[in-house]
Subunit: 185 residues, 2 copies
DNA sequence: GTCTATAATGCGATAGAC
DNA sequence: GTCTATCGCATTATAGAC
């Protein structure tokens, strides 16, 4: 599953063959089909990997004391992945684009579910900050991440992540917050 | 070329066969190969279509008197395309994601060139407004567009375009501007 | 459960009649 | 320049020995 997630991210769903994944995992082709009946099942396994990785990540961030620190740390993690993003794009975002075109078995919405998990977590942070319209703020932050990842990838320029990341940090710092964790703007 | 651009956007590059494009254009398969030697040549033709469409669009916007009006009209056009974006994503953005994975003939950077055209035009508007860091502002605006298109597509929710569009309009209006068209912030 | 060999299919590309 | 028929190949998926 880890090999599937990695190779599918780098090569894309359509250009990746089962043989590619089998090779990356160090097993023969037929063996893969023993555990995953179809290629789509492998794609779903990759999605589960991304979902698990996200849960792990937010779990770590939740240890930070304030919601603002958590959001800023999240942006820091994004920028830290700038070279991967510039080369292959956001794993979940590019997968969402590919699955939308794939249009079989109604799997085109499953990547959206992983993105929804991130949106919900971010929205929770904004809500804890006492800000109004936390759902719109989450949309803005996650949208900015997907946008800067796509641009960095399309232009092959990791510095885009750095520049936009800095702006997002300043934006987060500029949001109204009295330090109590309860605030309406 | 128009049929290629349309079908490639809707079905994706890898899932679209030459037969699909030939059918959409109302010509037999072999005929397509008389004008386009390979499938990649068709993809490049589609990119040229997008590039031409963009030039046409900015040409219209350039008729508006002020840069701020032009940018706000651009956002309005994006929101006006919300149903298409929610169903198939931004034509150029999704193509950039797909071509990055395709990785053949060095065509993976050509979608980036079209996006660069948009970035440059937007940057020019910000520069005319006299704002500092017009390149970063362009990155923010175009990045927001790509991000909201991807989210709208992944979640199949055109309203995301409306909500983020409204925010972008407010953001543009909040930028420092004295009405002379020359200003540093 | 592991692995090899192969069947079945779909697609890019071409040949060649008209 | 238009169109039909087909080749060659890559890939998903399976059969079946071990």
């Amino acid at each position: 599953m880890a090999a599937a997630a990695r190779v599918l991210h780098q090569q894309g769903v359509e250009r990746t063959t089962i043989a590619d994944i089998a090779h990356a995992a160090g097993v023969p082709v037929g063996n893969v089909y023993y555990y995953f009946k179809t290629k789509d099942a492998l794609v779903q396994a990759a999605l589960a990997e991304h979902s698990g990785h996200l849960a792990e990540l937010t779990g770590e961030l939740d240890k930070l004391p304030s919601p603002l620190e958590r959001l800023k740390a999240l942006v820091g993690l994004w920028v830290g992945q700038r070279d991967v993003a510039a080369r292959y794009g956001c794993p979940t975002g590019t997968l969402a684009v590919e699955l939308d075109k794939r249009a079989e078995g109604g799997m085109d919405l499953e990547a959206g579910r992983v993105i929804r998990l991130l949106l919900d977590w971010v929205e929770r942070q904004f809500r804890e900050l006492g800000l109004s319209d936390p759902d719109n703020l989450a949309l803005t932050l996650v949208g900015a991440y997907q946008g800067m990842s796509l641009l960095a990838n399309a232009l092959r320029d990791p510095e885009i992540m750095t520049r936009e990341g800095s702006r997002l940090i300043r934006w987060l710092d500029s949001l109204p917050d009295d330090g109590t964790g309860h605030r309406n703007s």
